[in-house]
Subunit: 382 residues, 2 copies
């Protein structure tokens, strides 16, 4: 086991009706001036926008709408930082986005200095979030992922200052999430788990946590798709997603390098595809690419404990079947499983592979990936 | 799933050598005057006492030794509170004990008011702890258990103010823990998990987390007993114990009432036995007592997923075998499995059962327990 230094100081307020019950009191701890960040229409469609304004009608609220699924440095981060400074905002209430803005608001220079790790943030505004999509785990982690269009950069910006102080998780807010986005959320959270499971120095404990996550996400994810208003399934999926990126699944494991994320970030930076779909497409191809004598026992364990594959079969058959089951599960929940289906042809594979090899450090991953490896994984994903 | 409001703000600093690397810096965040609390000789035997004094030689350290395995209101809490007030202590460094002292030090009246929940604490001194025994989960929970001899009270005193700010967990400090205390620690942590697993409204996710905990504790616990200096086993056991009482295994489950703890607290209050041993003795008898048509599916799941019992057997056979395996595991790690073996005869069973029924609220447990039920469980444990 590796040494670790760990803390997740976020308060999770979970369940039906929690925003009504506790939002005003929680926001009151952080001041009067609020930047409300959100994406498109869903916050209004589900009545959350109106509810928040009503609950916080005695506060001063500045709004930043239009945060995209792959949040953009320009305009979202830049606009958010400007608004925070102009209005002397005390706290960010995020219904999408907000992390990089919180840091940028307390920094005098270009927020890109922070996002690109050139400068370490010294402070950040407090963030409170209300989750409307079970997927990313941002409600319980210390950052966000920011895309910069002109340079095709997509960077996971992480700093302990960016843990949300409070996250509100009401599963009913996810009832109207489309089948496409629900499936992408399942795939995203499953991949978060897989990225931590395929590592060295794992423990029985962490392996078991990860296997439980995967089984739970598959069973409950399917139930959410079959009946989008199944509260129990939406709730369990929401809770499972919460653990995806806060390290609790892999404390003491060696670093795995999160290779599928490294590759997918380029796909969605270059083509702005749905992150969870990109991950689902990459994951089984990456698995096939890294299956070897060395990694075989991991795949066998994964196959038996996650998919219930017969442990008496030949080990290589178990491993191959496990990868096939992974692919078939993603396919069965409606994810387009080829890059071509999401608008990505082979024309920029070499360019993306080079970008990934230079920027993502995948030569340090669980199974080190060279630029050529990345080309092969992307080509197999077409 | 039930609604919940959850936060564990403790920083875990885990691994070999972490005290040397980070203790001075961490303590520096909280001030100059330190109350160092500890138990008996083990802190000196393993060299930790000398190390702490050396690392903190530029601070003012007040010492409170003699904290017992079942920490006492009188003298430990009373003495600790007095020392904190006299010396205007800034922070408690606990190598055993400390929680109730931290609250009492910031309260003008009798600390028993707080421990007995008559008065809610408004503040507490910060607590930093260094763990030398893998067992209780106090490194990642919000309280301690205090015994008051003259009234036979043993109360779990919990308040969010009492989360340790930082917990240092170096598995090498547990190398010299005796076989008896190692086994009691395994049983304690296993019971923490079982108390949460046997509940209503559990999820696939939480069930899987609990099952992983139990499998990991059994495998690694055995390894620790076979080879007390097996770092990997001691480390995994230490990490698993950390999750025992911080709710992460049961977020969203209905309250189970922690019935074995309710019963055991009376045993160790009346007879001052080792807590983990008391739990191990009670647990299988409690299981047998509550096995019914209603609870059968829980026991079946437990038997299959924790002990690998053949799922094709008759359900009642699986359940009974699961209870038998629980008993046999505790016995196999050297725990005396009868109350008589730890010095408890039947003479005070009725008195203890009455005390438990009045004070522990077990009529609200997963399977409600009356005074008569408690008498029967205790009698079966003789």
């Amino acid at each position: 086991m590796r040494n670790f230094d760990y803390m997740t100081p976020t308060r999770l307020i979970f369940g039906k009706g929690v925003v009504d019950k506790k939002l005003p009191e929680v926001m009151g701890q952080f001041g009067k001036k609020i930047l409300l960040t959100y994406g498109g229409g869903s916050i209004k469609k589900i009545g959350l926008y109106q509810k928040v304004l009503e609950l916080l009608k005695d506060r001063e609220i500045v709004e930043l709408a239009g945060i995209q699924p792959n949040p953009k440095y320009d305009p979202s981060v830049l606009d958010g930082v400007r608004l925070c400074k102009e209005h002397k905002v005390d706290v960010i209430l995020s219904v999408g986005g907000g992390s990089a803005i919180a840091a940028g608001a307390c920094y005098d220079g270009d927020p890109w200095d922070l996002i690109s790790y050139k400068v370490k943030a010294k402070a950040a505004l407090p963030i409170v979030d209300i989750i409307t999509l079970a997927a990313t785990g941002s409600e319980y982690d210390a950052g966000g992922v920011i895309s910069r269009t002109e340079t095709n950069d997509k960077i996971g910006y992480i700093d302990p200052l960016l843990y949300p102080r409070v996250s509100f998780l009401d599963p009913t807010y996810t009832f109207t999430v489309s089948a496409k986005q629900t499936a992408a959320g399942i795939a995203d959270a499953m991949n978060h788990t897989i990225e931590q499971y395929f590592a060295e120095d794992t423990t029985l404990l962490n392996d078991g946590f990860c296997e439980s996550m995967l089984r739970s996400l598959m069973v409950n994810g399917r139930r959410c798709l079959e009946n989008p208003e199944d509260y129990t399934a939406r709730a369990e999926m929401m809770l499972a997603c919460t653990y995806g990126c806060n390290r609790i699944l892999s404390l003491g494991n060696s670093a795995s390098g999160w290779p599928c994320h490294g590759i997918e970030h380029a796909l969605s930076a270059y083509y702005d595809i749905t992150h969870g779909e990109g991950l689902a497409i990459i994951t089984p191809r990456w698995m096939t690419h890294i299956l070897s004598e060395r990694t075989l026992p991991r795949f066998v364990k994964y196959g038996i404990n996650v998919f219930g594959i017969d442990a008496t079969l030949d080990q290589w058959d178990i491993a191959r079947k496990a990868i096939e089951e992974t692919y078939k599960f993603f396919e069965s929940i409606g994810i387009p499983m080829h890059l071509r289906e999401v608008g990505i042809d082979g024309s920029r594979i070499n360019e993306m592979a080079h970008h990934i090899a230079v920027n993502e450090g995948l030569d340090q991953a669980y199974v080190p990936l060279s630029e050529q490896d990345i080309v092969e994984i992307l080509t197999a994903s077409l």
